[in-house]
Symmetry: C2
Subunit: 391 residues, 2 copies
């Protein structure tokens, strides 16, 4: 059964359940017409959207490269991933219909499922043959989704961005509260798993993510931020969950601490590389091919490595420019092209990707101690996939 | 040592730690001047504010009434509460200084510590002599604080309210992210406790709180909401945490399931009574004595029992009024006094308090099976305290 099909079926099941609801809590704003604003927007939020079908080529796991690497990984753990998707759909349910409706906006609307894939593959690489990793992979995806929902909450000052993020469709409050629900649900899933070690790892990661996000807010619009601070931010907001996602793979497989630590190091370095590439892509034409807008970070005054490198290497006139656009947020139409030209001049983009490559190599090296198998090759391939997005 | 003193000392300790920080994460926006907007507001957020000293009268625990009941309760568990306050201060720390700074805005700025007090007293009533309940009480307060922070996040449409809530001082994004940190930290505290049963109770409550909050959002501005839906909201957003807070008291004391369920019922009914009184107070002059504004719920179009009763008992002209002010949010200066008059006419306030009394009685009855002791009397007294706020 194709992944997309399994997902579509799961969705049908879910819709039936949501419509029945529980007495007193089953009424949704949209289908009972309580808040016309949401009803009018239902087209934008169609929760029946299918998880895109993936062409799997498990036999190519030995030579993964870029997109192929992710495909190979999906092929290797396809059944686990289908089970994980079913768990996700099942456990994002609530008698309060707005919850699955809003969650679907992010969870069902595609996404690579990269983090849960890492948990599934790490566990299998460690020789695990049970199914605990499926629930934990769902749990990792819930934490990620909650973070995305909370990430997109806008501040008074940012209201004009008007993106089609969940908060733009449903409002800040709903995004925050559904994010809270998914956080709480992820902890419930962990408790069902029953391992205090797993709980420790994932709860710790959740606190670290929040710290990273707050630090990002603190250094935002501040060109005097350091590379070290930037690294603290991405280690927190991105790499901590990657590390936890892979580490729990070793824990469910009951492997020695050294292997758990190796998988932690793999995930952490991969996460840093992933975020570095993401931050470089924000200033790359490549971004448009991925259906995203160039310069979002620029408009928000987000401090990322490409900006820091261009700022640090710039002369005084350039520094004045960066301060005006990022700190004072005085931006004109020609500023983004000028910023891109300065980055080009100072090799900020290339060097950011080079840094990502370095962390990617560390991630691969962390797997050295594991015996060669298809999952290990796929995990190595994921590093290629992350870096290849830049090209 | 007075409670206020212990709290002040703990704060001094904390400040020292925050200022040292960890390399790379120790810089705060406020004292490094990165975001002048926060610096200018530092006066409003003085994190050195002391937890108000409480005049304890433990010897009066036998005859508690209203405020006295809370004082009696504090007197009974004073040492535990001091230990709990120390835990709270210690565990809200982070190398990212904005986190304790923002958390202090809510946690240190007073608050009755009602929920943690319930955990402490419930455990002691069950004969518990260890100190696990202290950490769990801190955990309960963290969940409560995170909820408050997320509650206050405003939507685009609500920007004009401009209250001095944390989000008004620090912005939506910071409030959301620090709330997430406190949520995650509370789960870390539970994991440290190590009981899966406790984790199950508190994680379940967290998911239920989020469901209640989302449902509240769904029925907001909808005068066709039912009393059953309103009850679902307050059971979720308020009573679930009261129930969990008291239930864990029986669990740490290793008491039989029947006692855990009795304490759950006590907390749940108390929580419903508490919220009913809160919702009545929003339309009462009494509210001003408590330093809060009358009619906040009215202005937001929040559906609470006083409104539902007045709406249901009103004639067609009155229903038109309620729909205009709550659904269409077309409010003029004379509307709040008119709403109050309609509530008076239909005994909406009195009947809401009557309903609170009924749930309060249920809460007291739930304690029937427990042997008489000072903690039990104090818990009965807390019910009096909650109801007495209305008068």
């Amino acid at each position: 059964m194709a992944l997309g099909m399994a997902w579509g079926m799961a969705w049908g099941m879910v819709q039936g359940r949501v419509r029945k609801g529980r007495a007193g809590l089953g009424r949704s704003a949209c289908w009972a017409g309580a808040r016309p604003v949401w009803c009018a927007r239902q087209q934008e939020v169609n929760p029946r959207v299918s998880f895109p079908a993936v062409q799997t080529r498990a036999d190519q796991a030995s030579a993964p490269n870029g997109e192929d690497a992710l495909t190979a990984l999906v092929g290797l753990v396809r059944e686990d991933l289908e089970a994980c998707n079913r768990q996700i759909v099942e456990r994002m349910q609530s008698p309060v219909a707005l919850i699955p409706q809003l969650a679907a906006h992010l969870i069902a609307a595609g996404g690579k499922r990269l983090r849960p894939l890492l948990t599934l593959a790490a566990a299998r690489m460690c020789g695990y043959r049970g199914d605990r990793h499926v629930r934990l992979a769902a749990c990792v995806e819930f934490i990620h989704t909650a973070t995305l929902l909370h990430d997109d909450v806008v501040d008074e000052s940012d209201l004009r961005r008007g993106r089609a993020s969940a908060n733009a469709v449903f409002g800040n409050q709903a995004s925050v509260l559904v994010g809270d629900f998914l956080f709480a649900r992820s902890f419930e899933l962990m408790v069902e798993d029953g391992s205090l070690e797993v709980l420790r790892i994932l709860c710790g990661a959740s606190a670290t993510i929040a710290e990273g996000e707050v630090l990002q807010l603190v250094i935002q619009n501040d060109t005097s931020s350091t590379e070290e601070q930037y690294l603290d931010v991405i280690e927190g907001k991105t790499a901590a969950l990657f590390a936890a996602a892979t580490r729990v793979g070793a824990v469910v497989a009951d492997r020695p601490v050294a292997e758990a630590e190796a998988l932690d190091a793999y995930g952490r370095n991969l996460g840093i590389a992933f975020q570095l590439v993401d931050d470089a892509l924000d200033y790359s034409a490549q971004q448009e091919k991925l259906g995203k807008t160039v310069g979002d970070d620029f408009r928000e005054g987000k401090i990322t490595l490409p900006v820091l490198l261009a700022f640090q290497r710039g002369d005084e006139a350039e520094k004045v420019f960066w301060r005006r656009v990022l700190e004072e947020k005085q931006q004109e139409e020609a500023d983004l092209p000028h910023a891109l030209a300065l980055m080009q001049k100072h090799q900020a983009f290339t060097d950011t990707i080079g840094r990502a490559r370095m962390y990617g190599d560390k991630a691969i090296a962390a797997l050295d101690g594991f015996p060669d198998n298809a999952e290990k090759r796929a995990l190595v391939g994921v590093v290629e996939f992350c870096i290849a997005r830049a090209h």
